[in-house]
């Protein structure tokens, strides 16, 4: 053990001269602008989605489905007999995308910077209470290592969202007769689900599972196929942040749209066939 601890001692970085303390830096650019804009936008969307998906229904019972459009926060709709009135059906499904985004490598960067100031910016001093903080090396953030499971689960609601897109355009009635239409809601659902699919497919963990964990790509035919897939996912992954933001905004808008239909504020403009 002494050998190991000697190695660990040698690996400890000697102290530098960087000024310590929150916000201490010689940077003159507006380093705070970017994390603040991101953090505020994220907080607005996340708060809206939580209120709409979890709190609103039990309080106001306004409904989350209108004109054949089911809010993406409630899909697939899970209802069971004697459901307690405080329980929003949204909650039964939302924990999956919440877990997916909370452990997402991109969102981690954004919220560690904005909510924890860890770091507030690059080469910018941190609050000194951070000094002994173990980051992702200990509980709770070590749980981020389970991100792949959140990713696996996230494909389940995504599958149902694609069914919702088809239903939005097919517009089947209770008797099973289709009344096809191209409505604003359907277009919004299509865009939203496409962006959510892009977000899920550009996930770092998926990229790893599909091909990243292989060392020798050319060794077998199966691996050569996985290499091709890995390259495609890598292309998507380059813009993971973009997918994360656009899909967060469109899922917020899609839910808002359905809510506005439900309450009669809007009617869905549609071309009907």
């Amino acid at each position: 053990m002494t050998g190991q601890s000697a190695v660990l001692r040698a690996l400890r970085k000697p102290r530098g001269t960087a000024p310590q303390g929150f916000g201490k830096t010689k940077r003159r650019d507006r380093w705070a602008a970017y994390p603040i804009v991101q953090g505020v936008l994220f907080t607005i969307c996340a708060t809206y989605l939580l209120v709409s998906g979890v709190i609103w229904e039990p309080l106001f019972h306004t409904g989350y489905e209108a004109d054949g459009y089911l809010s993406p926060l409630f899909s697939p709709l899970i209802l069971f007999p004697n459901m307690p009135s405080w329980l929003s059906p949204g909650l039964l499904i939302l924990w999956i995308p919440i877990g997916f985004r909370a452990t997402c490598y991109y969102y981690r960067k954004a919220y560690y910077r904005f909510y924890f100031a860890d770091p507030p910016g690059c080469a910018v001093g941190e609050p000194t209470i951070h000094r002994r903080f173990a980051l992702e090396n200990a509980f709770p953030f070590i749980l981020q290592n389970l991100h792949r499971y959140a990713m696996y689960l996230a494909f389940i609601p995504l599958f149902f969202l694609w069914i919702d897109v088809i239903r939005a355009f097919g517009n089947w009635d209770a008797a099973g007769v289709a009344h096809p239409r191209i409505g604003l809601g359907g277009v919004l659902f299509l865009v939203n689900t496409t962006l959510l699919t892009g977000y899920s497919l550009s996930c770092h963990s998926l990229r790893h599972v599909i091909g990243g964990r292989i060392d020798c790509f050319s060794c077998t035919r199966a691996r050569r196929i996985r290499h091709t897939l890995w390259e495609r996912l890598t292309d998507l992954n380059r813009n993971h942040m973009w997918w994360a933001w656009t899909s967060l905004v469109t899922v917020t808008l899609a839910d808002l749209y359905v809510r506005l239909l439900v309450t009669g504020v809007l009617t869905d403009p549609a071309i009907r066939f």
Partner: protein, 284 residues
């Protein structure tokens, strides 16, 4: 000469243990001038004892790393014309490392970390002239080999700069190097246990400052650190993979060998049946 053609530099001066200060210099700006040129002008005209380390002046040796207006940069690659000359330009050494003198910091700790990484481990007894791999196997690794060891990423990393962690952290530069070894098609080493317990990859919270400063534009976080975190998760944090390894009676990390393309006939056009799993968890 008009005011616009003078750059005001505030240069960090001092020695270990002693008081540090910023000396101010007015430097006449010439076309194409970089910070390192300005420092040479200061050495030649105002402060011959100013200590600065440099070598290639071509952004390739990684010697002239420092901080310009608070940002970790190569001083030979930072053009004065890109900076706002209305205010003084602050020039400092890399502040995450101990000071040698003035703009020179002591980066020797990095070489200690480097030594702790298991070196390239090709199959024992395989002569070098028989090492074979395909371009698609090696493309990913080539990105990591662009590193010029400027240690700017180490300098900016907040874990090394601001935290006093209980265990050491190897830092982004050495995660890049380890990634290149771990993903090498014929390397037989398994450094995942090292990454988790010695290099402590868990301290990285993927906030990407290293990627932002890398002068070689290596996508350090996306292409080296995150893939390594995923590999460490395969071995240590994934309960299903753990159960799967137990079921199949696979050995623990480090004991498994690499099936080698050149030992199996070399050609990539056919699929050798023996190539199953280059790491215990490779076939997911």
């Amino acid at each position: 000469m008009t005011e616009a053609h003078i750059a005001h530099l505030k240069v960090f001066r001092g020695e270990p243990g002693g008081a540090t200060r910023y000396d101010e210099f007015d430097v006449p700006v010439e076309e194409g001038m970089v910070i390192l040129d300005a420092l040479h002008w200061i050495q030649g005209n105002a402060a011959p004892d100013l200590a600065v380390r440099w070598n290639c002046k071509a952004a390739k040796c990684g010697s002239c790393s420092g901080e310009v207006n608070g940002k970790p940069r190569l001083m030979c690659k930072t053009r004065i014309s890109d900076l706002d000359l209305d205010e003084p330009i602050t020039v400092e050494p890399m502040r995450s490392f101990p000071l040698v003198r003035d703009l020179v910091s002591d980066v020797s700790w990095n070489y200690e970390v480097n030594k702790s990484i298991q070196a390239f481990t090709p199959p024992a007894g395989l002569p070098q002239e028989e090492w074979r791999w395909q371009q698609q196997d090696i493309e990913r690794v080539q990105e990591y080999r662009k590193c010029i060891e400027c240690f700017l990423c180490q300098d900016v990393c907040h874990v090394l700069r601001n935290h006093e962690t209980e265990k050491p952290f190897m830092g982004p530069r050495f995660l890049v190097r380890t990634a290149g070894l771990e993903m090498h098609p014929i390397d037989e080493g398994d450094r995942r246990g090292y990454l988790k317990d010695t290099g402590n990859i868990g301290y990285c919270n993927i906030t990407k400052c290293c990627t932002e400063v890398c002068p070689e534009h290596i996508k350090i976080t996306d292409n080296a650190i995150i893939p390594l975190k995923e590999r460490v998760a395969d071995e240590f944090y994934d309960p299903i993979q753990w159960a799967w390894r137990k079921l199949r009676g696979k050995p623990a990390a480090g004991a498994a060998g690499t099936p080698l393309p050149m030992l199996q006939g070399g050609s990539a056009s056919d699929a050798p049946a023996a190539a199953k799993g280059d790491k215990p968890t490779s076939e997911g």
